[in-house]
Amino acid sequence: MKRKSLGFYFRIYRKILAQDLKSKMSYRADFIISTIGMIFTNVAGFISFWILFQNFPSINGWGYYEMLFLYGFSLIALTPVQCFFDNNWNLRMRVYSGDFIKYCFRPINLFFYFQSEVFDIKGIGQFLFGLGTLIYSWNMLGLGFSALMLLKMIVFLISASLVMIALQNAAASACFWMQNSFFVLDFINKMKDYAKYPVTIFSSIFRFIFTFVIPIAFIAYYPSLVILRPDEVPLLSWLSPIVALVFFFLSYKLWMFGAMKYNGTGA
């Protein structure tokens, strides 16, 4: 049988998404409350950020608007993982209860099939908030605007997203080997909070860890340097799209390897 094309997967995803949104909208209260919840989460996150900067005018040579830029950048970069890969949080339970086996019987990509099941609409609020923050700080920093900058922005946002997705995939796939793997995913999720700070503020050990071990520095810091500090872009920034692709591919392989090894509980 021939391999299914990318277009095929887009079509299927669109259909599932459209239906899923329709059914979510039908639960109006739930929809409204979760939207409000998302707004509050973002506002609270912003307030703590703002309070910090009321007390320190700059952190390690990073001014308020630059930090805000990083903050907005990381919010946008974290949106795809929230919207499209949220089912990773359920993976552990599915695997543990044996329900995961149902995903193994379809003639389509297992990873796709599993992730397509959940679309988390809350991510959209986060995206809009991040976009607002980014545009505002962009303006205040007087970075100027050109088509090339926009292109760079898009490429580096995508690679930043891929890094986070890869981190989450790798963390989620721990459940294929471990009984109680929640803490792995939870740990990675907590680590992403550090992504919105310039990696230079950490000690050299953590700088190394955040770059090469748990590469959260690729979620906001390295890619945004391309826009923020165009005169002193380190090599790692330019490498971030490649790092992202390689890392995503490896995490996907790891996830699939675990899934293929999986053989369920007794029925």
Binding site: M1, R11, I12, I16, D20, P107, E117, N263, G264, A267
Partner: protein, 333 residues
């Protein structure tokens, strides 16, 4: 007729860690290389032809699921060969998935939040069903069960019976060559069970779909299967027609009588009188399982009548359930 499934001497072994007791034991287990090999499926062979309904039976832990997982390509056999529609399932998982449908009694494979018809449309795309085949299939479904009220209901709001029905319809939607049904009637009420059995039977007739049915409900087996395969502890115990099965242990009938006086005392006395038959007592009835090769039911009855005052009597043919129970408990001699 061609074989849709060919299984030749398959064996599946699992490596299981020998676990020790207590906290200290589990700490030791962390570093232990002390594995034992468990043989879940032991040298099983069978051929299944297109269009058959095969009851695949065995007590819990017999190795049924493991065999099914090998047929669906989820597990690779340790040794032996499986061919499903001419290809090796675990090497061609995607291609095999296109050929099969799978239903688990208590785990729906439909999209939880979506109305059934939307799940159908997505499945139609996934399996590449043509518009015409899809329409024909829905018409067939409509003629077999009243699906109209189900189609627009989200799966989440369905009763277990409706959900199982929907899952079965979804499994047949792409007209697969084989459908695996794993306890499709578990937890359902009597009328729903009957409905589902009728549906499976009709779909098998109409589409000539091979059905592999695992169940613990002998009602399913009686209603659907001509052939049954029984395994236990990974070994094949029986593979033949269901009619054949009933004569398997000789010809048995159960004589049930109701007597005046103490039930258990009388039962004990009868048991002593007929040591060759098994005697049990419950619900005011005393049952004597008579092996007609040894003596006839009428002989037993007339002998009992001499000693006891029989107020009422019933005669039961042995059910598939009882035969299977005997096989599970005693094995095959």
């Amino acid at each position: 007729m061609s074989n849709i499934i060919e299984i030749k001497n398959i064996t599946k072994e699992f490596k299981v860690l020998n676990r020790r007791e207590g906290l200290k034991g589990s700490l030791k287990d962390l570093f232990s290389r002390d594995y034992k090999i468990v043989r879940a499926v032991d040298n099983i062979s069978m051929n299944i032809t297109q269009g058959e309904i095969v009851g695949y039976l065995g007590p819990n832990g017999a190795g049924k699921s493991t065999t099914i997982k090998m047929m669906t390509g989820i597990l690779e056999p340790t040794s032996g060969e499986i061919l499903v529609d001419g290809c090796i399932p675990y090497k061609n998982r995607t291609r095999n998935a296109q050929n099969i449908g799978v239903v688990f009694g208590q785990r729906t494979q439909l999209w939880w939040a979506l109305p059934l018809v939307e799940s159908f449309k997505i499945l139609k795309d996934i399996y590449g069903v043509t518009d015409k085949d899809y329409k024909d299939m829905l018409e067939l479904y409509q003629s077999l069960v009243d699906i109209e009220p189900l189609l627009h209901k989200p799966v989440r709001q369905m009763s277990l019976g409706q959900r199982t029905l929907s899952d079965i319809l979804a499994a047949f939607l792409h007209n697969p060559k084989i459908v695996f049904l794993d306890e499709p009637t578990i937890g359902l009420d009597v009328s729903m069970k009957a409905k589902i059995r009728t549906l499976i039977h009709a779909l098998n007739k109409e589409k000539n779909t091979t059905v592999i049915l695992t169940t613990h409900d002998m009602g399913d087996v009686d209603a659907l299967c001509r052939r049954i395969v029984i395994i236990d502890k990974g070994k094949m115990l029986y593979d033949n027609d269901i009619e054949h099965l009933k004569g398997f242990f000789g010809y048995y009938r159960t004589l049930k009588i109701r007597v005046s006086g103490s039930l258990s005392e009388t039962a004990e006395k009868i048991a002593a009188e007929f040591p060759e038959f098994s005697v049990s007592a419950n619900d005011e009835w005393i049952s004597v399982l008579v092996d007609e090769a040894k003596s006839t039911v009428m002989d037993v009855l007339s002998q009992l009548q001499k000693t006891y005052k029989i107020r009422d009597m019933q005669l039961e043919e042995i059910s598939t359930e009882e035969v299977i129970k005997k096989i599970y408990e005693e094995g095959v001699k």
